[in-house]
């Protein structure tokens, strides 16, 4: 049985690192893995999405509408943008952080209210994580991605040690302690 996980967010939030850690943890557990990333133009503060798929044998590296088992959203509007991609019985782990897109910054439209409630109303299973304050508590606002990786790890049937090993391989040694702390905080959130 293949599993499909989407990691969505805003360019610059560290979604790529999250997908790399997830990919290497899954590979370590013996799965066939494919990860599809987006580089280039859309990284500049635009909406970004990364697909991670695993199973006995994976063909396509992308995830289409109605196919994702889990969506890990780094920002709430991005969770809503990609909700159609979730299986009807899937789960959304959503950071409650709001980042205004340019049309909101310019005052052309309002940032929508009640996004988390609207996500729940779709019938999807929703776990909301207030990752920014947790990251600041861990030591830096930049650790939002690792907090969210921790929250996702709790929802996957992999040993915690596998995650910690993947994290160790992916972050510079001098930031390891901070990242391990952030991971634990996310895991227990």
């Amino acid at each position: 049985m293949n599993k499909s996980i989407m990691i969505v967010g805003v360019g610059g939030q560290g979604t790529l690192l999250a997908s790399r850690i997830l990919g290497s943890a899954l590979l370590d557990c013996g799965y066939d893995v494919k990860v599809s990333e987006v580089h280039g133009m859309s990284q500049r503060g635009g909406s970004v999405v990364t697909y991670v798929r695993c199973g006995e044998k994976v063909a396509s590296p992308i995830i289409e509408k109605g196919e994702a088992d889990i969506i890990l959203a780094f920002e709430q509007l991005e969770a809503a943008r990609w909700i159609e991609y979730l299986r009807t019985d899937g789960k959304v782990i959503v950071n409650t952080q709001q980042i205004d897109p340019m049309p909101v910054v310019m005052g052309a439209v309002e940032y929508p209210d009640g996004v988390i409630d609207a996500l729940r109303a779709t019938g999807a299973s929703v776990q909301a994580v207030d990752a920014l304050p947790l990251a600041v508590e861990a030591g830096t606002a930049k650790a939002v991605n690792v907090i969210l990786i921790g929250a996702m790890a709790k929802n996957m049937e992999l040993d915690k040690e596998v995650w910690i090993k993947a994290l160790k391989e992916s972050v510079p040694p001098k930031f390891l302690e901070l990242n391990l702390k952030a991971f634990e905080m996310g895991y227990n959130s």
Binding site: G11, G12, R20, G23, L27, D32, V33, K34, V35, S36, E37, V38, H39, G40, M41, S42, Q43, R44, G45, G46, S47, A59, S60, P61, I62, E64, K65, G66, E67, L77, E78, A80, R81, I83, E84, Y85, L86, T88, I99, D100, P101, M102, P103, V104, V105, M106, G107, V109, Y111, P112, G114, V115, A118, L119, T122, G123, A124, L132, A141, K142
Partner: protein, 577 residues
């Protein structure tokens, strides 16, 4: 050893294992990482060239000298390098020469959706197309062997989803057979008409030999692959479309997977098609394989049922072939679009705001600064291709000389070196009062921070000769050269106005390193003093993603703000501190 590799990383690994010695490329999404990863192997000499034409000629020279060589580029880069490509097809190679071209169906980061398979056919050069990272590695090694076997450059074609997907690949050791001897041979390497006429005959025979290879040996060694399952549906595919088809149809279809897409076999396809009830050609962009099938009287379903635009996917294939669609969740949340924007602290922002105040027409170019076209700045009038801002402005000013006093070209440092400098020479030589602004942010930004000839560092980060943009402009005959700091709005505006007022052409260098460079030190984030803020929204006119309105007052996101102080220069009430 099995590793999870990015497609582009796997190509670089293939270069290493194949004993490749020289790599020369110009960055371009989605091809850039191949050369970045190649530069990490000490056994390979890697470099960033000023443009793709130079890169391909470097690879050609290295091949003639006897080294296995390589160059990589995005699809539009192959247009720039088309000149050496078409004739390198005639000369052939000494040691193997491989060219990677990365197409971008869906235009994730490109200005058009060109299908580079036509180049293989046009230049009569063999082309392979991998479908995952394992094949990226394997096909790169095969490409060198085929290049030497058939005495031809070989192109590897990727698409974004192969270049930028990670999947597993098996690693092997490097085999380096050393430098091949160079033997002087003007009939082969000097393409004057008398020699080229002879070589054209060779090229046509080579294609026939390659077709024979594709029908037989390539099937035996798995480059072209037939998989029979249910014969109700037959799929002819290559690259990522093969993976989508396997995902959508599994064992409910039979497959002819073409690893070599130029030249295409005829009998192999005919035999496969005759075994299957209904045959589909699955290929993104143009009807390249489909046309080949029709030309050879093979009945297939292709673009009539699918599309010439954008990407394919497993769901598109399931919908068209099986009539199946997945249930989806719906929400009534107003999904506000989130287009890419200039980063907080981006030096281009101040420049574009100054241009907006000057109400000029702007010839744009390719790079991060193309985002100056987006609202609320909206300050770019045209974008065509690398370098076209400079040459296009000259044309505009020839057609309407009065335009010269109210229009400029904007071009980044790397793009200027790529192909802006020739346009600037034309401006000086053929004398229009054109104003060219070089946005010198000390790096090639859009493709993810590559060094270039203006930065003073090479691909490995070692010190290198640096082009002086000021001296270059003077040397080609530009008398008015002005340098401004785009973080200083008044200085920038005045500098551009002086250039517009000057007699003769002018170059303005807007100089400030990219805010994302690790070497750049930032000021602490700015804050809005809510008591002083009069809610005039002046600070929002620069389109900084760190600034928004909260409860009627401006606020600055401390996680994004880099303290560039451009917004504070707009606040008449001194509310930004």
């Amino acid at each position: 050893m099995k590793k999870l590799l990015l497609g582009n990383e796997a190509v670089a690994r293939g270069l290493y294992e194949a004993g490749c010695r020289v790599v020369s490329s110009y960055p371009g999404t989605p091809s850039t990482e191949v050369t970045e990863f190649a530069s990490k192997y000490d056994e390979i000499f890697s470099e960033w060239a000023p443009n793709e034409k130079v890169a391909m000629e470097v690879a050609f020279g290295a091949s003639v000298a006897g080294a296995r060589s390589f160059c990589a580029m995005k699809h539009v880069g192959l247009n720039v390098a088309a000149d050496p490509l078409f004739t390198a097809s005639y000369t052939g190679v000494n040691a193997g020469m491989v060219i990677l071209v990365a197409d971008d169906p869906g235009m994730h980061s490109s200005q058009n959706e060109q299908d580079s398979r036509h180049y293989a056919m046009g230049a009569k050069v063999m082309m392979l197309e991998p479908s995952d990272s394992a094949e990226c590695l394997d096909y790169t090694k095969r490409a060198f062997e085929l290049s030497e076997k058939f005495d031809t450059p070989v192109i590897i074609r990727e698409t974004t989803r192969v270049a930028h997907s990670r999947s597993t690949a098996e690693l092997a050791d490097r085999v380096d057979n050393g430098l091949k001897e160079y033997i002087k041979n003007p009939q082969k390497y000097v393409m004057v008409p008398a020699n080229a006429k002879g070589k054209h005959v060779v090229v046509e025979q080579r294609i026939l030999d390659q077709i024979a290879y594709c029908e037989t040996e390539a099937v035996e060694n798995g480059l072209n692959k037939v998989e029979y399952n249910s014969k109700k549906i037959g799929v002819i595919a290559s690259g990522i479309c093969y993976q989508y088809a396997k995902e959508a149809l599994g064992e409910n279809a039979s497959y002819l997977k073409l690893g070599c897409i130029y030249p295409l076999p005829v009998e192999l396809i005919k035999n496969f098609a005759s075994e299957c009830e209904t045959v589909y050609v699955l290929e993104e962009l143009d009807d390249y394989i489909e046309t080949h099938c029709r030309k050879n009287g093979i009945d297939v379903i292709g673009k009539d049922a699918f599309t010439l635009q954008g990407e394919y996917s497993q769901s598109l294939i399931a919908k068209v072939i099986l009539g199946e669609e997945k249930d989806t969740l719906k929400t009534d949340v107003n999904i506000v679009p989130r287009p890419p924007v200039l980063c907080a602290g981006c030096p281009h922002r101040g420049l574009f705001y100054a241009l907006k105040q000057l109400k000029v027409t702007v010839s744009g170019d390719i790079g991060c600064y193309t985002l100056g076209a987006s609202q609320p700045l909206g300050m770019i009038d045209t974008v065509l291709c690398m370098g076209a801002s400079v040459s296009g402005l000259h044309g505009r000013n020839l057609a309407d000389p009065a335009n010269a006093k109210k229009s400029v070209a904007v071009i980044g440092d790397s793009t200027f070196i790529h192909s802006g400098v020739t346009g600037l020479i034309n401006i000086a030589y053929n004398a229009t009062d054109s104003v060219v602004i070089i946005l010198d942010n000390s790096i090639t930004g859009m493709t993810g921070h590559q060094q270039n000839p203006t930065t003073g560092y090479n691909i490995k980060g070692e010190p290198a000769a640096a082009v002086s943009l000021e001296k270059l402009a003077e040397a080609v005959g530009i008398k008015n050269v002005i340098v401004v700091d785009p973080y200083n709005l008044e200085e920038t505006k005045n500098g551009i106005q002086t250039a517009l007022d000057a007699d003769g052409p002018a170059v303005v260098i807007s100089r400030r390193p990219c805010a994302l460079l690790k070497t750049v030190k930032h000021n602490p984030p700015l804050k809005v003093n809510k008591d002083k803020c009069k809610s005039c929204k002046m600070c929002m006119k620069i389109g900084c993603p760190a600034i928004s309105m909260k409860d009627g007052k401006a606020q600055i996101d401390f996680t994004q703000c880099l303290g560039c102080n451009v917004c504070s220069q707009l606040c008449k009430f001194g509310a930004i501190e």
